[in-house]
């Protein structure tokens, strides 16, 4: 395979381009998707034309609805949300219509739509421009939730999303866009629902996703002489790779769940609940959550730093569970 280091944004761009090349029914809708300074969609208008790459009005309900409808007629729309926070104006279309239609119809119709949304804190953008929110989508049955942490996964998972018959929300952390990594030039798909052990270890399992994977790796690095940490990148919230979670806990007996979304009723809670139910017998220590607190995101960068989950908080959580014999 021909691999080159490219950025996360370029990997997404490549996935979009390759899927549009292969399948004329793939179309792209969103606000300013033709803008030349957006690296994920750059060049697509020039290559595929105005019909298939469309700038939309600021009408998230209408254009997500349009994507759903087109997907019901078996097109493969990719709809972009500038930021996931803006999706709140369109939750009926996403949660009532997109997520439920396949089930409600008894299988008579499918909604193979992919929503792409950037997300995440760390840029001092305030409470409505910094959220993660994937737990909201995960709470509703019927929509897959994909949160890649690196360029390789981003490309393979996005191609998977566009091609499979289910609806997904594909979340792109804005601080990852410039991250470089080796990515095959070829077209390839990665399965949804398979976690990846990014670092093996014996003492503590850190189960995480998205940008937090990098903070977790750093935390593990920092502790490498003291605690043997296994870091697992869940890659998708829905479906969740329970097997990877449980078999790691079987080995380590200790779990720290790390996530940038709000803590309450979030990814961390779900992962904890699975562990406390299905891996209870292996557990040697309380399960710790390192998530965004149940507080809106503050603007001031020092406050935001205090607020967000990060390496230091992960380190102290790991240390705290490592103490249990």
């Amino acid at each position: 395979m021909d691999e080159r280091p490219i950025t996360f944004a370029e990997a997404i761009n490549e996935a979009l381009k390759q899927s549009m090349m292969k399948d004329p029914e793939v179309i792209l809708l969103g606000e300013n998707v033709t803008s030349s300074w957006r690296p994920t969609t750059k060049g697509l208008l020039e290559e595929f034309g105005r019909e298939r790459v469309r700038d939309t009005p600021i009408s998230e309900t209408a254009f997500i609805g349009a994507g759903i409808g087109a997907s019901i007629l078996s097109m493969r729309p990719v709809v972009e949300l500038m930021l996931v926070d803006f999706g709140l104006v369109a939750m009926d279309q996403i949660l009532n219509q997109l997520a439920k239609t396949h089930y409600m119809s008894g299988g008579a119709v499918k909604t193979p739509l992919t929503i792409r949304a950037s997300y995440g804190g760390g840029t001092s953008s305030g409470a409505t421009h910094s959220e993660s929110l994937y737990s909201l989508f995960a709470h509703m049955p019927g929509i897959k939730v994909v949160v890649p942490s690196n360029p390789f996964d981003a490309k393979g998972l996005l191609l998977s999303c566009i091609r499979n018959d289910d609806p997904e929300i594909f979340m792109e952390h804005r601080l990852l866009y410039d991250l470089k990594g080796h990515v095959p030039a070829e077209d390839y798909v990665l399965p949804l629902g398979e976690a990846k052990v990014v670092q093996e270890g014996d003492d503590v399992t850190v189960f995480t996703i998205g940008r937090m994977v990098h903070e977790a790796i750093q935390a593990a690095q920092e502790l490498k002489d003291k605690v043997s940490v296994e870091v697992i990148d869940a890659r998708t919230v829905v479906p969740l790779d329970e097997k990877a979670l449980i078999s790691s806990i079987e080995k380590t007996g200790r779990l720290v769940v790390v996530d940038e979304d709000y803590e309450r009723c979030g990814f961390c809670a779900e992962v904890t609940a699975i562990a406390a139910n299905k891996a209870f017998e292996y557990l040697k220590a309380p399960i710790l959550r390192v998530a965004s607190p149940n507080v809106p995101i503050p603007y001031n960068p020092t406050l935001e730093k205090r607020y967000l989950p990060n390496r230091d908080k992960i380190v102290s959580a790991i240390k705290s569970v490592a103490r249990y014999a």
Binding site: S59, A62, G65, N96, T101, H102, G106, G142
Partner: protein, 324 residues
């Protein structure tokens, strides 16, 4: 087609038959609800039949509609199989959607009946996508969004008008205004008006499309208006907003199941029947035959539904994803 142009008698009778079918089907449905065979209440379409029948008479099977919480009229007019429809409402395995949808979420893609909807205005944005697919494929297809005057105040519906217009989509917005005289909601008087204009169709202007208001109890007016709008859409000239004033006959109002067939001068079926007879397109005997044969079909549908098996109980937990 212009006002006054001739419509073949055959077509007229087909439309009349559709209206009778809807009425008959809903009557049977009400009875099954009273008997407890159908496990829920739902919105009825009695009094509005001319709209669904008139509009859908202009559509092809390859065109799509999005419907509402009063879906039976739209679905039947679009050609849904009565047996599978009644089975679905009865929650049976043989229903369009295995009994998982119920009246508010029926989908029958085989005839383009793409969705009743439990959310007021919820189907309208999706109809944009049906129209978009036709536009991109260049297949000349169109899509119709049915919604009420109440729904015309939902943001998603208003946004959709703008999007349809800027993308010049082959789409017809059909607003059935059930508050033609006094503004009401779900049949109840309300203490503030819900609509800020006399005609919903006056909103068309603000979204750059043509729009007008018609008497929805006169099926020929409906048919003609729809014909023009559909032609316009098929020829690539973009969307239209049609408003049809309708009177929901007693029995449509929330909480009530009663239905008085002869209650109203606004009954579109009585009116059309009189017209057809007047112009000699229908006589008493033919009318009886139409009614009887529709009753028979509905009876068959009821029997089919009642005789159909319940879905396998484990079906409750299956089918969330295509790829599970």
């Amino acid at each position: 087609m212009v006002e006054g142009a001739k419509v073949k008698n055959e077509k007229l009778l087909e439309i009349y038959r559709t209206m009778v079918r809807i009425r008959t089907f809903e009557k049977a449905t009400r009875e099954l609800i009273k008997k407890g065979v159908i496990p829920t209440r739902m919105g009825f379409y009695t009094g509005q039949e001319a709209v669904a029948a008139g509009v859908c008479a202009v559509l092809k099977e390859t065109d799509q509609i999005g419907s509402t919480h009063r879906p039976l009229g739209h679905l039947i007019a679009k050609g849904c199989d009565l047996k599978k429809l009644m089975s679905e409402i009865c929650g049976k395995e043989t229903g369009f959607n295995k009994g998982k949808a119920g009246p508010y979420h029926i989908f029958d893609p085989s005839v383009g009946a793409l969705g009743a909807n439990g959310i007021v205005g919820g189907s309208v944005p999706m109809v944009l996508g049906y129209a978009l697919a036709h536009q991109l494929r260049g297949d000349g297809g169109v899509a119709v969004a049915f919604f009420g005057e109440g729904a015309s105040n939902q943001g998603g519906v208003l946004e959709s008008m703008n999007l349809a217009s800027v993308w010049n989509l082959p789409l017809i917005f059909v607003c059935e205004n059930s508050s033609p005289d006094v503004q009401t909601m779900l049949g109840h008087k309300i203490n503030y008006p819900q609509i800020s204009v006399d005609k919903i169709s006056s909103r068309a202007l603000g979204f750059g499309m043509p729009g007008d208001t018609y008497e929805g109890w006169d099926v020929m007016k409906v048919y003609r208006a729809a014909f023009e709008a559909v032609e316009r859409a098929r020829s690539g000239s973009g969307p239209t907003l049609l408003e049809f004033k309708v009177h929901q006959l007693t029995g449509n109002i929330e909480g009530s199941l009663e239905f008085f067939e002869d209650e109203s001068m606004w009954d579109p079926i009585r009116r059309f029947r009189r017209e057809l007879m007047f112009k000699g397109a229908l006589n008493e005997e033919e009318d009886r035959w139409i009614r009887t044969s529709e009753e028979l079909k509905v009876k068959e549908a009821v029997e089919y539904a009642i005789g159909s098996p319940e879905p396998n109980v484990e079906e409750a937990l299956r089918g969330v994803f295509v790829e599970e």
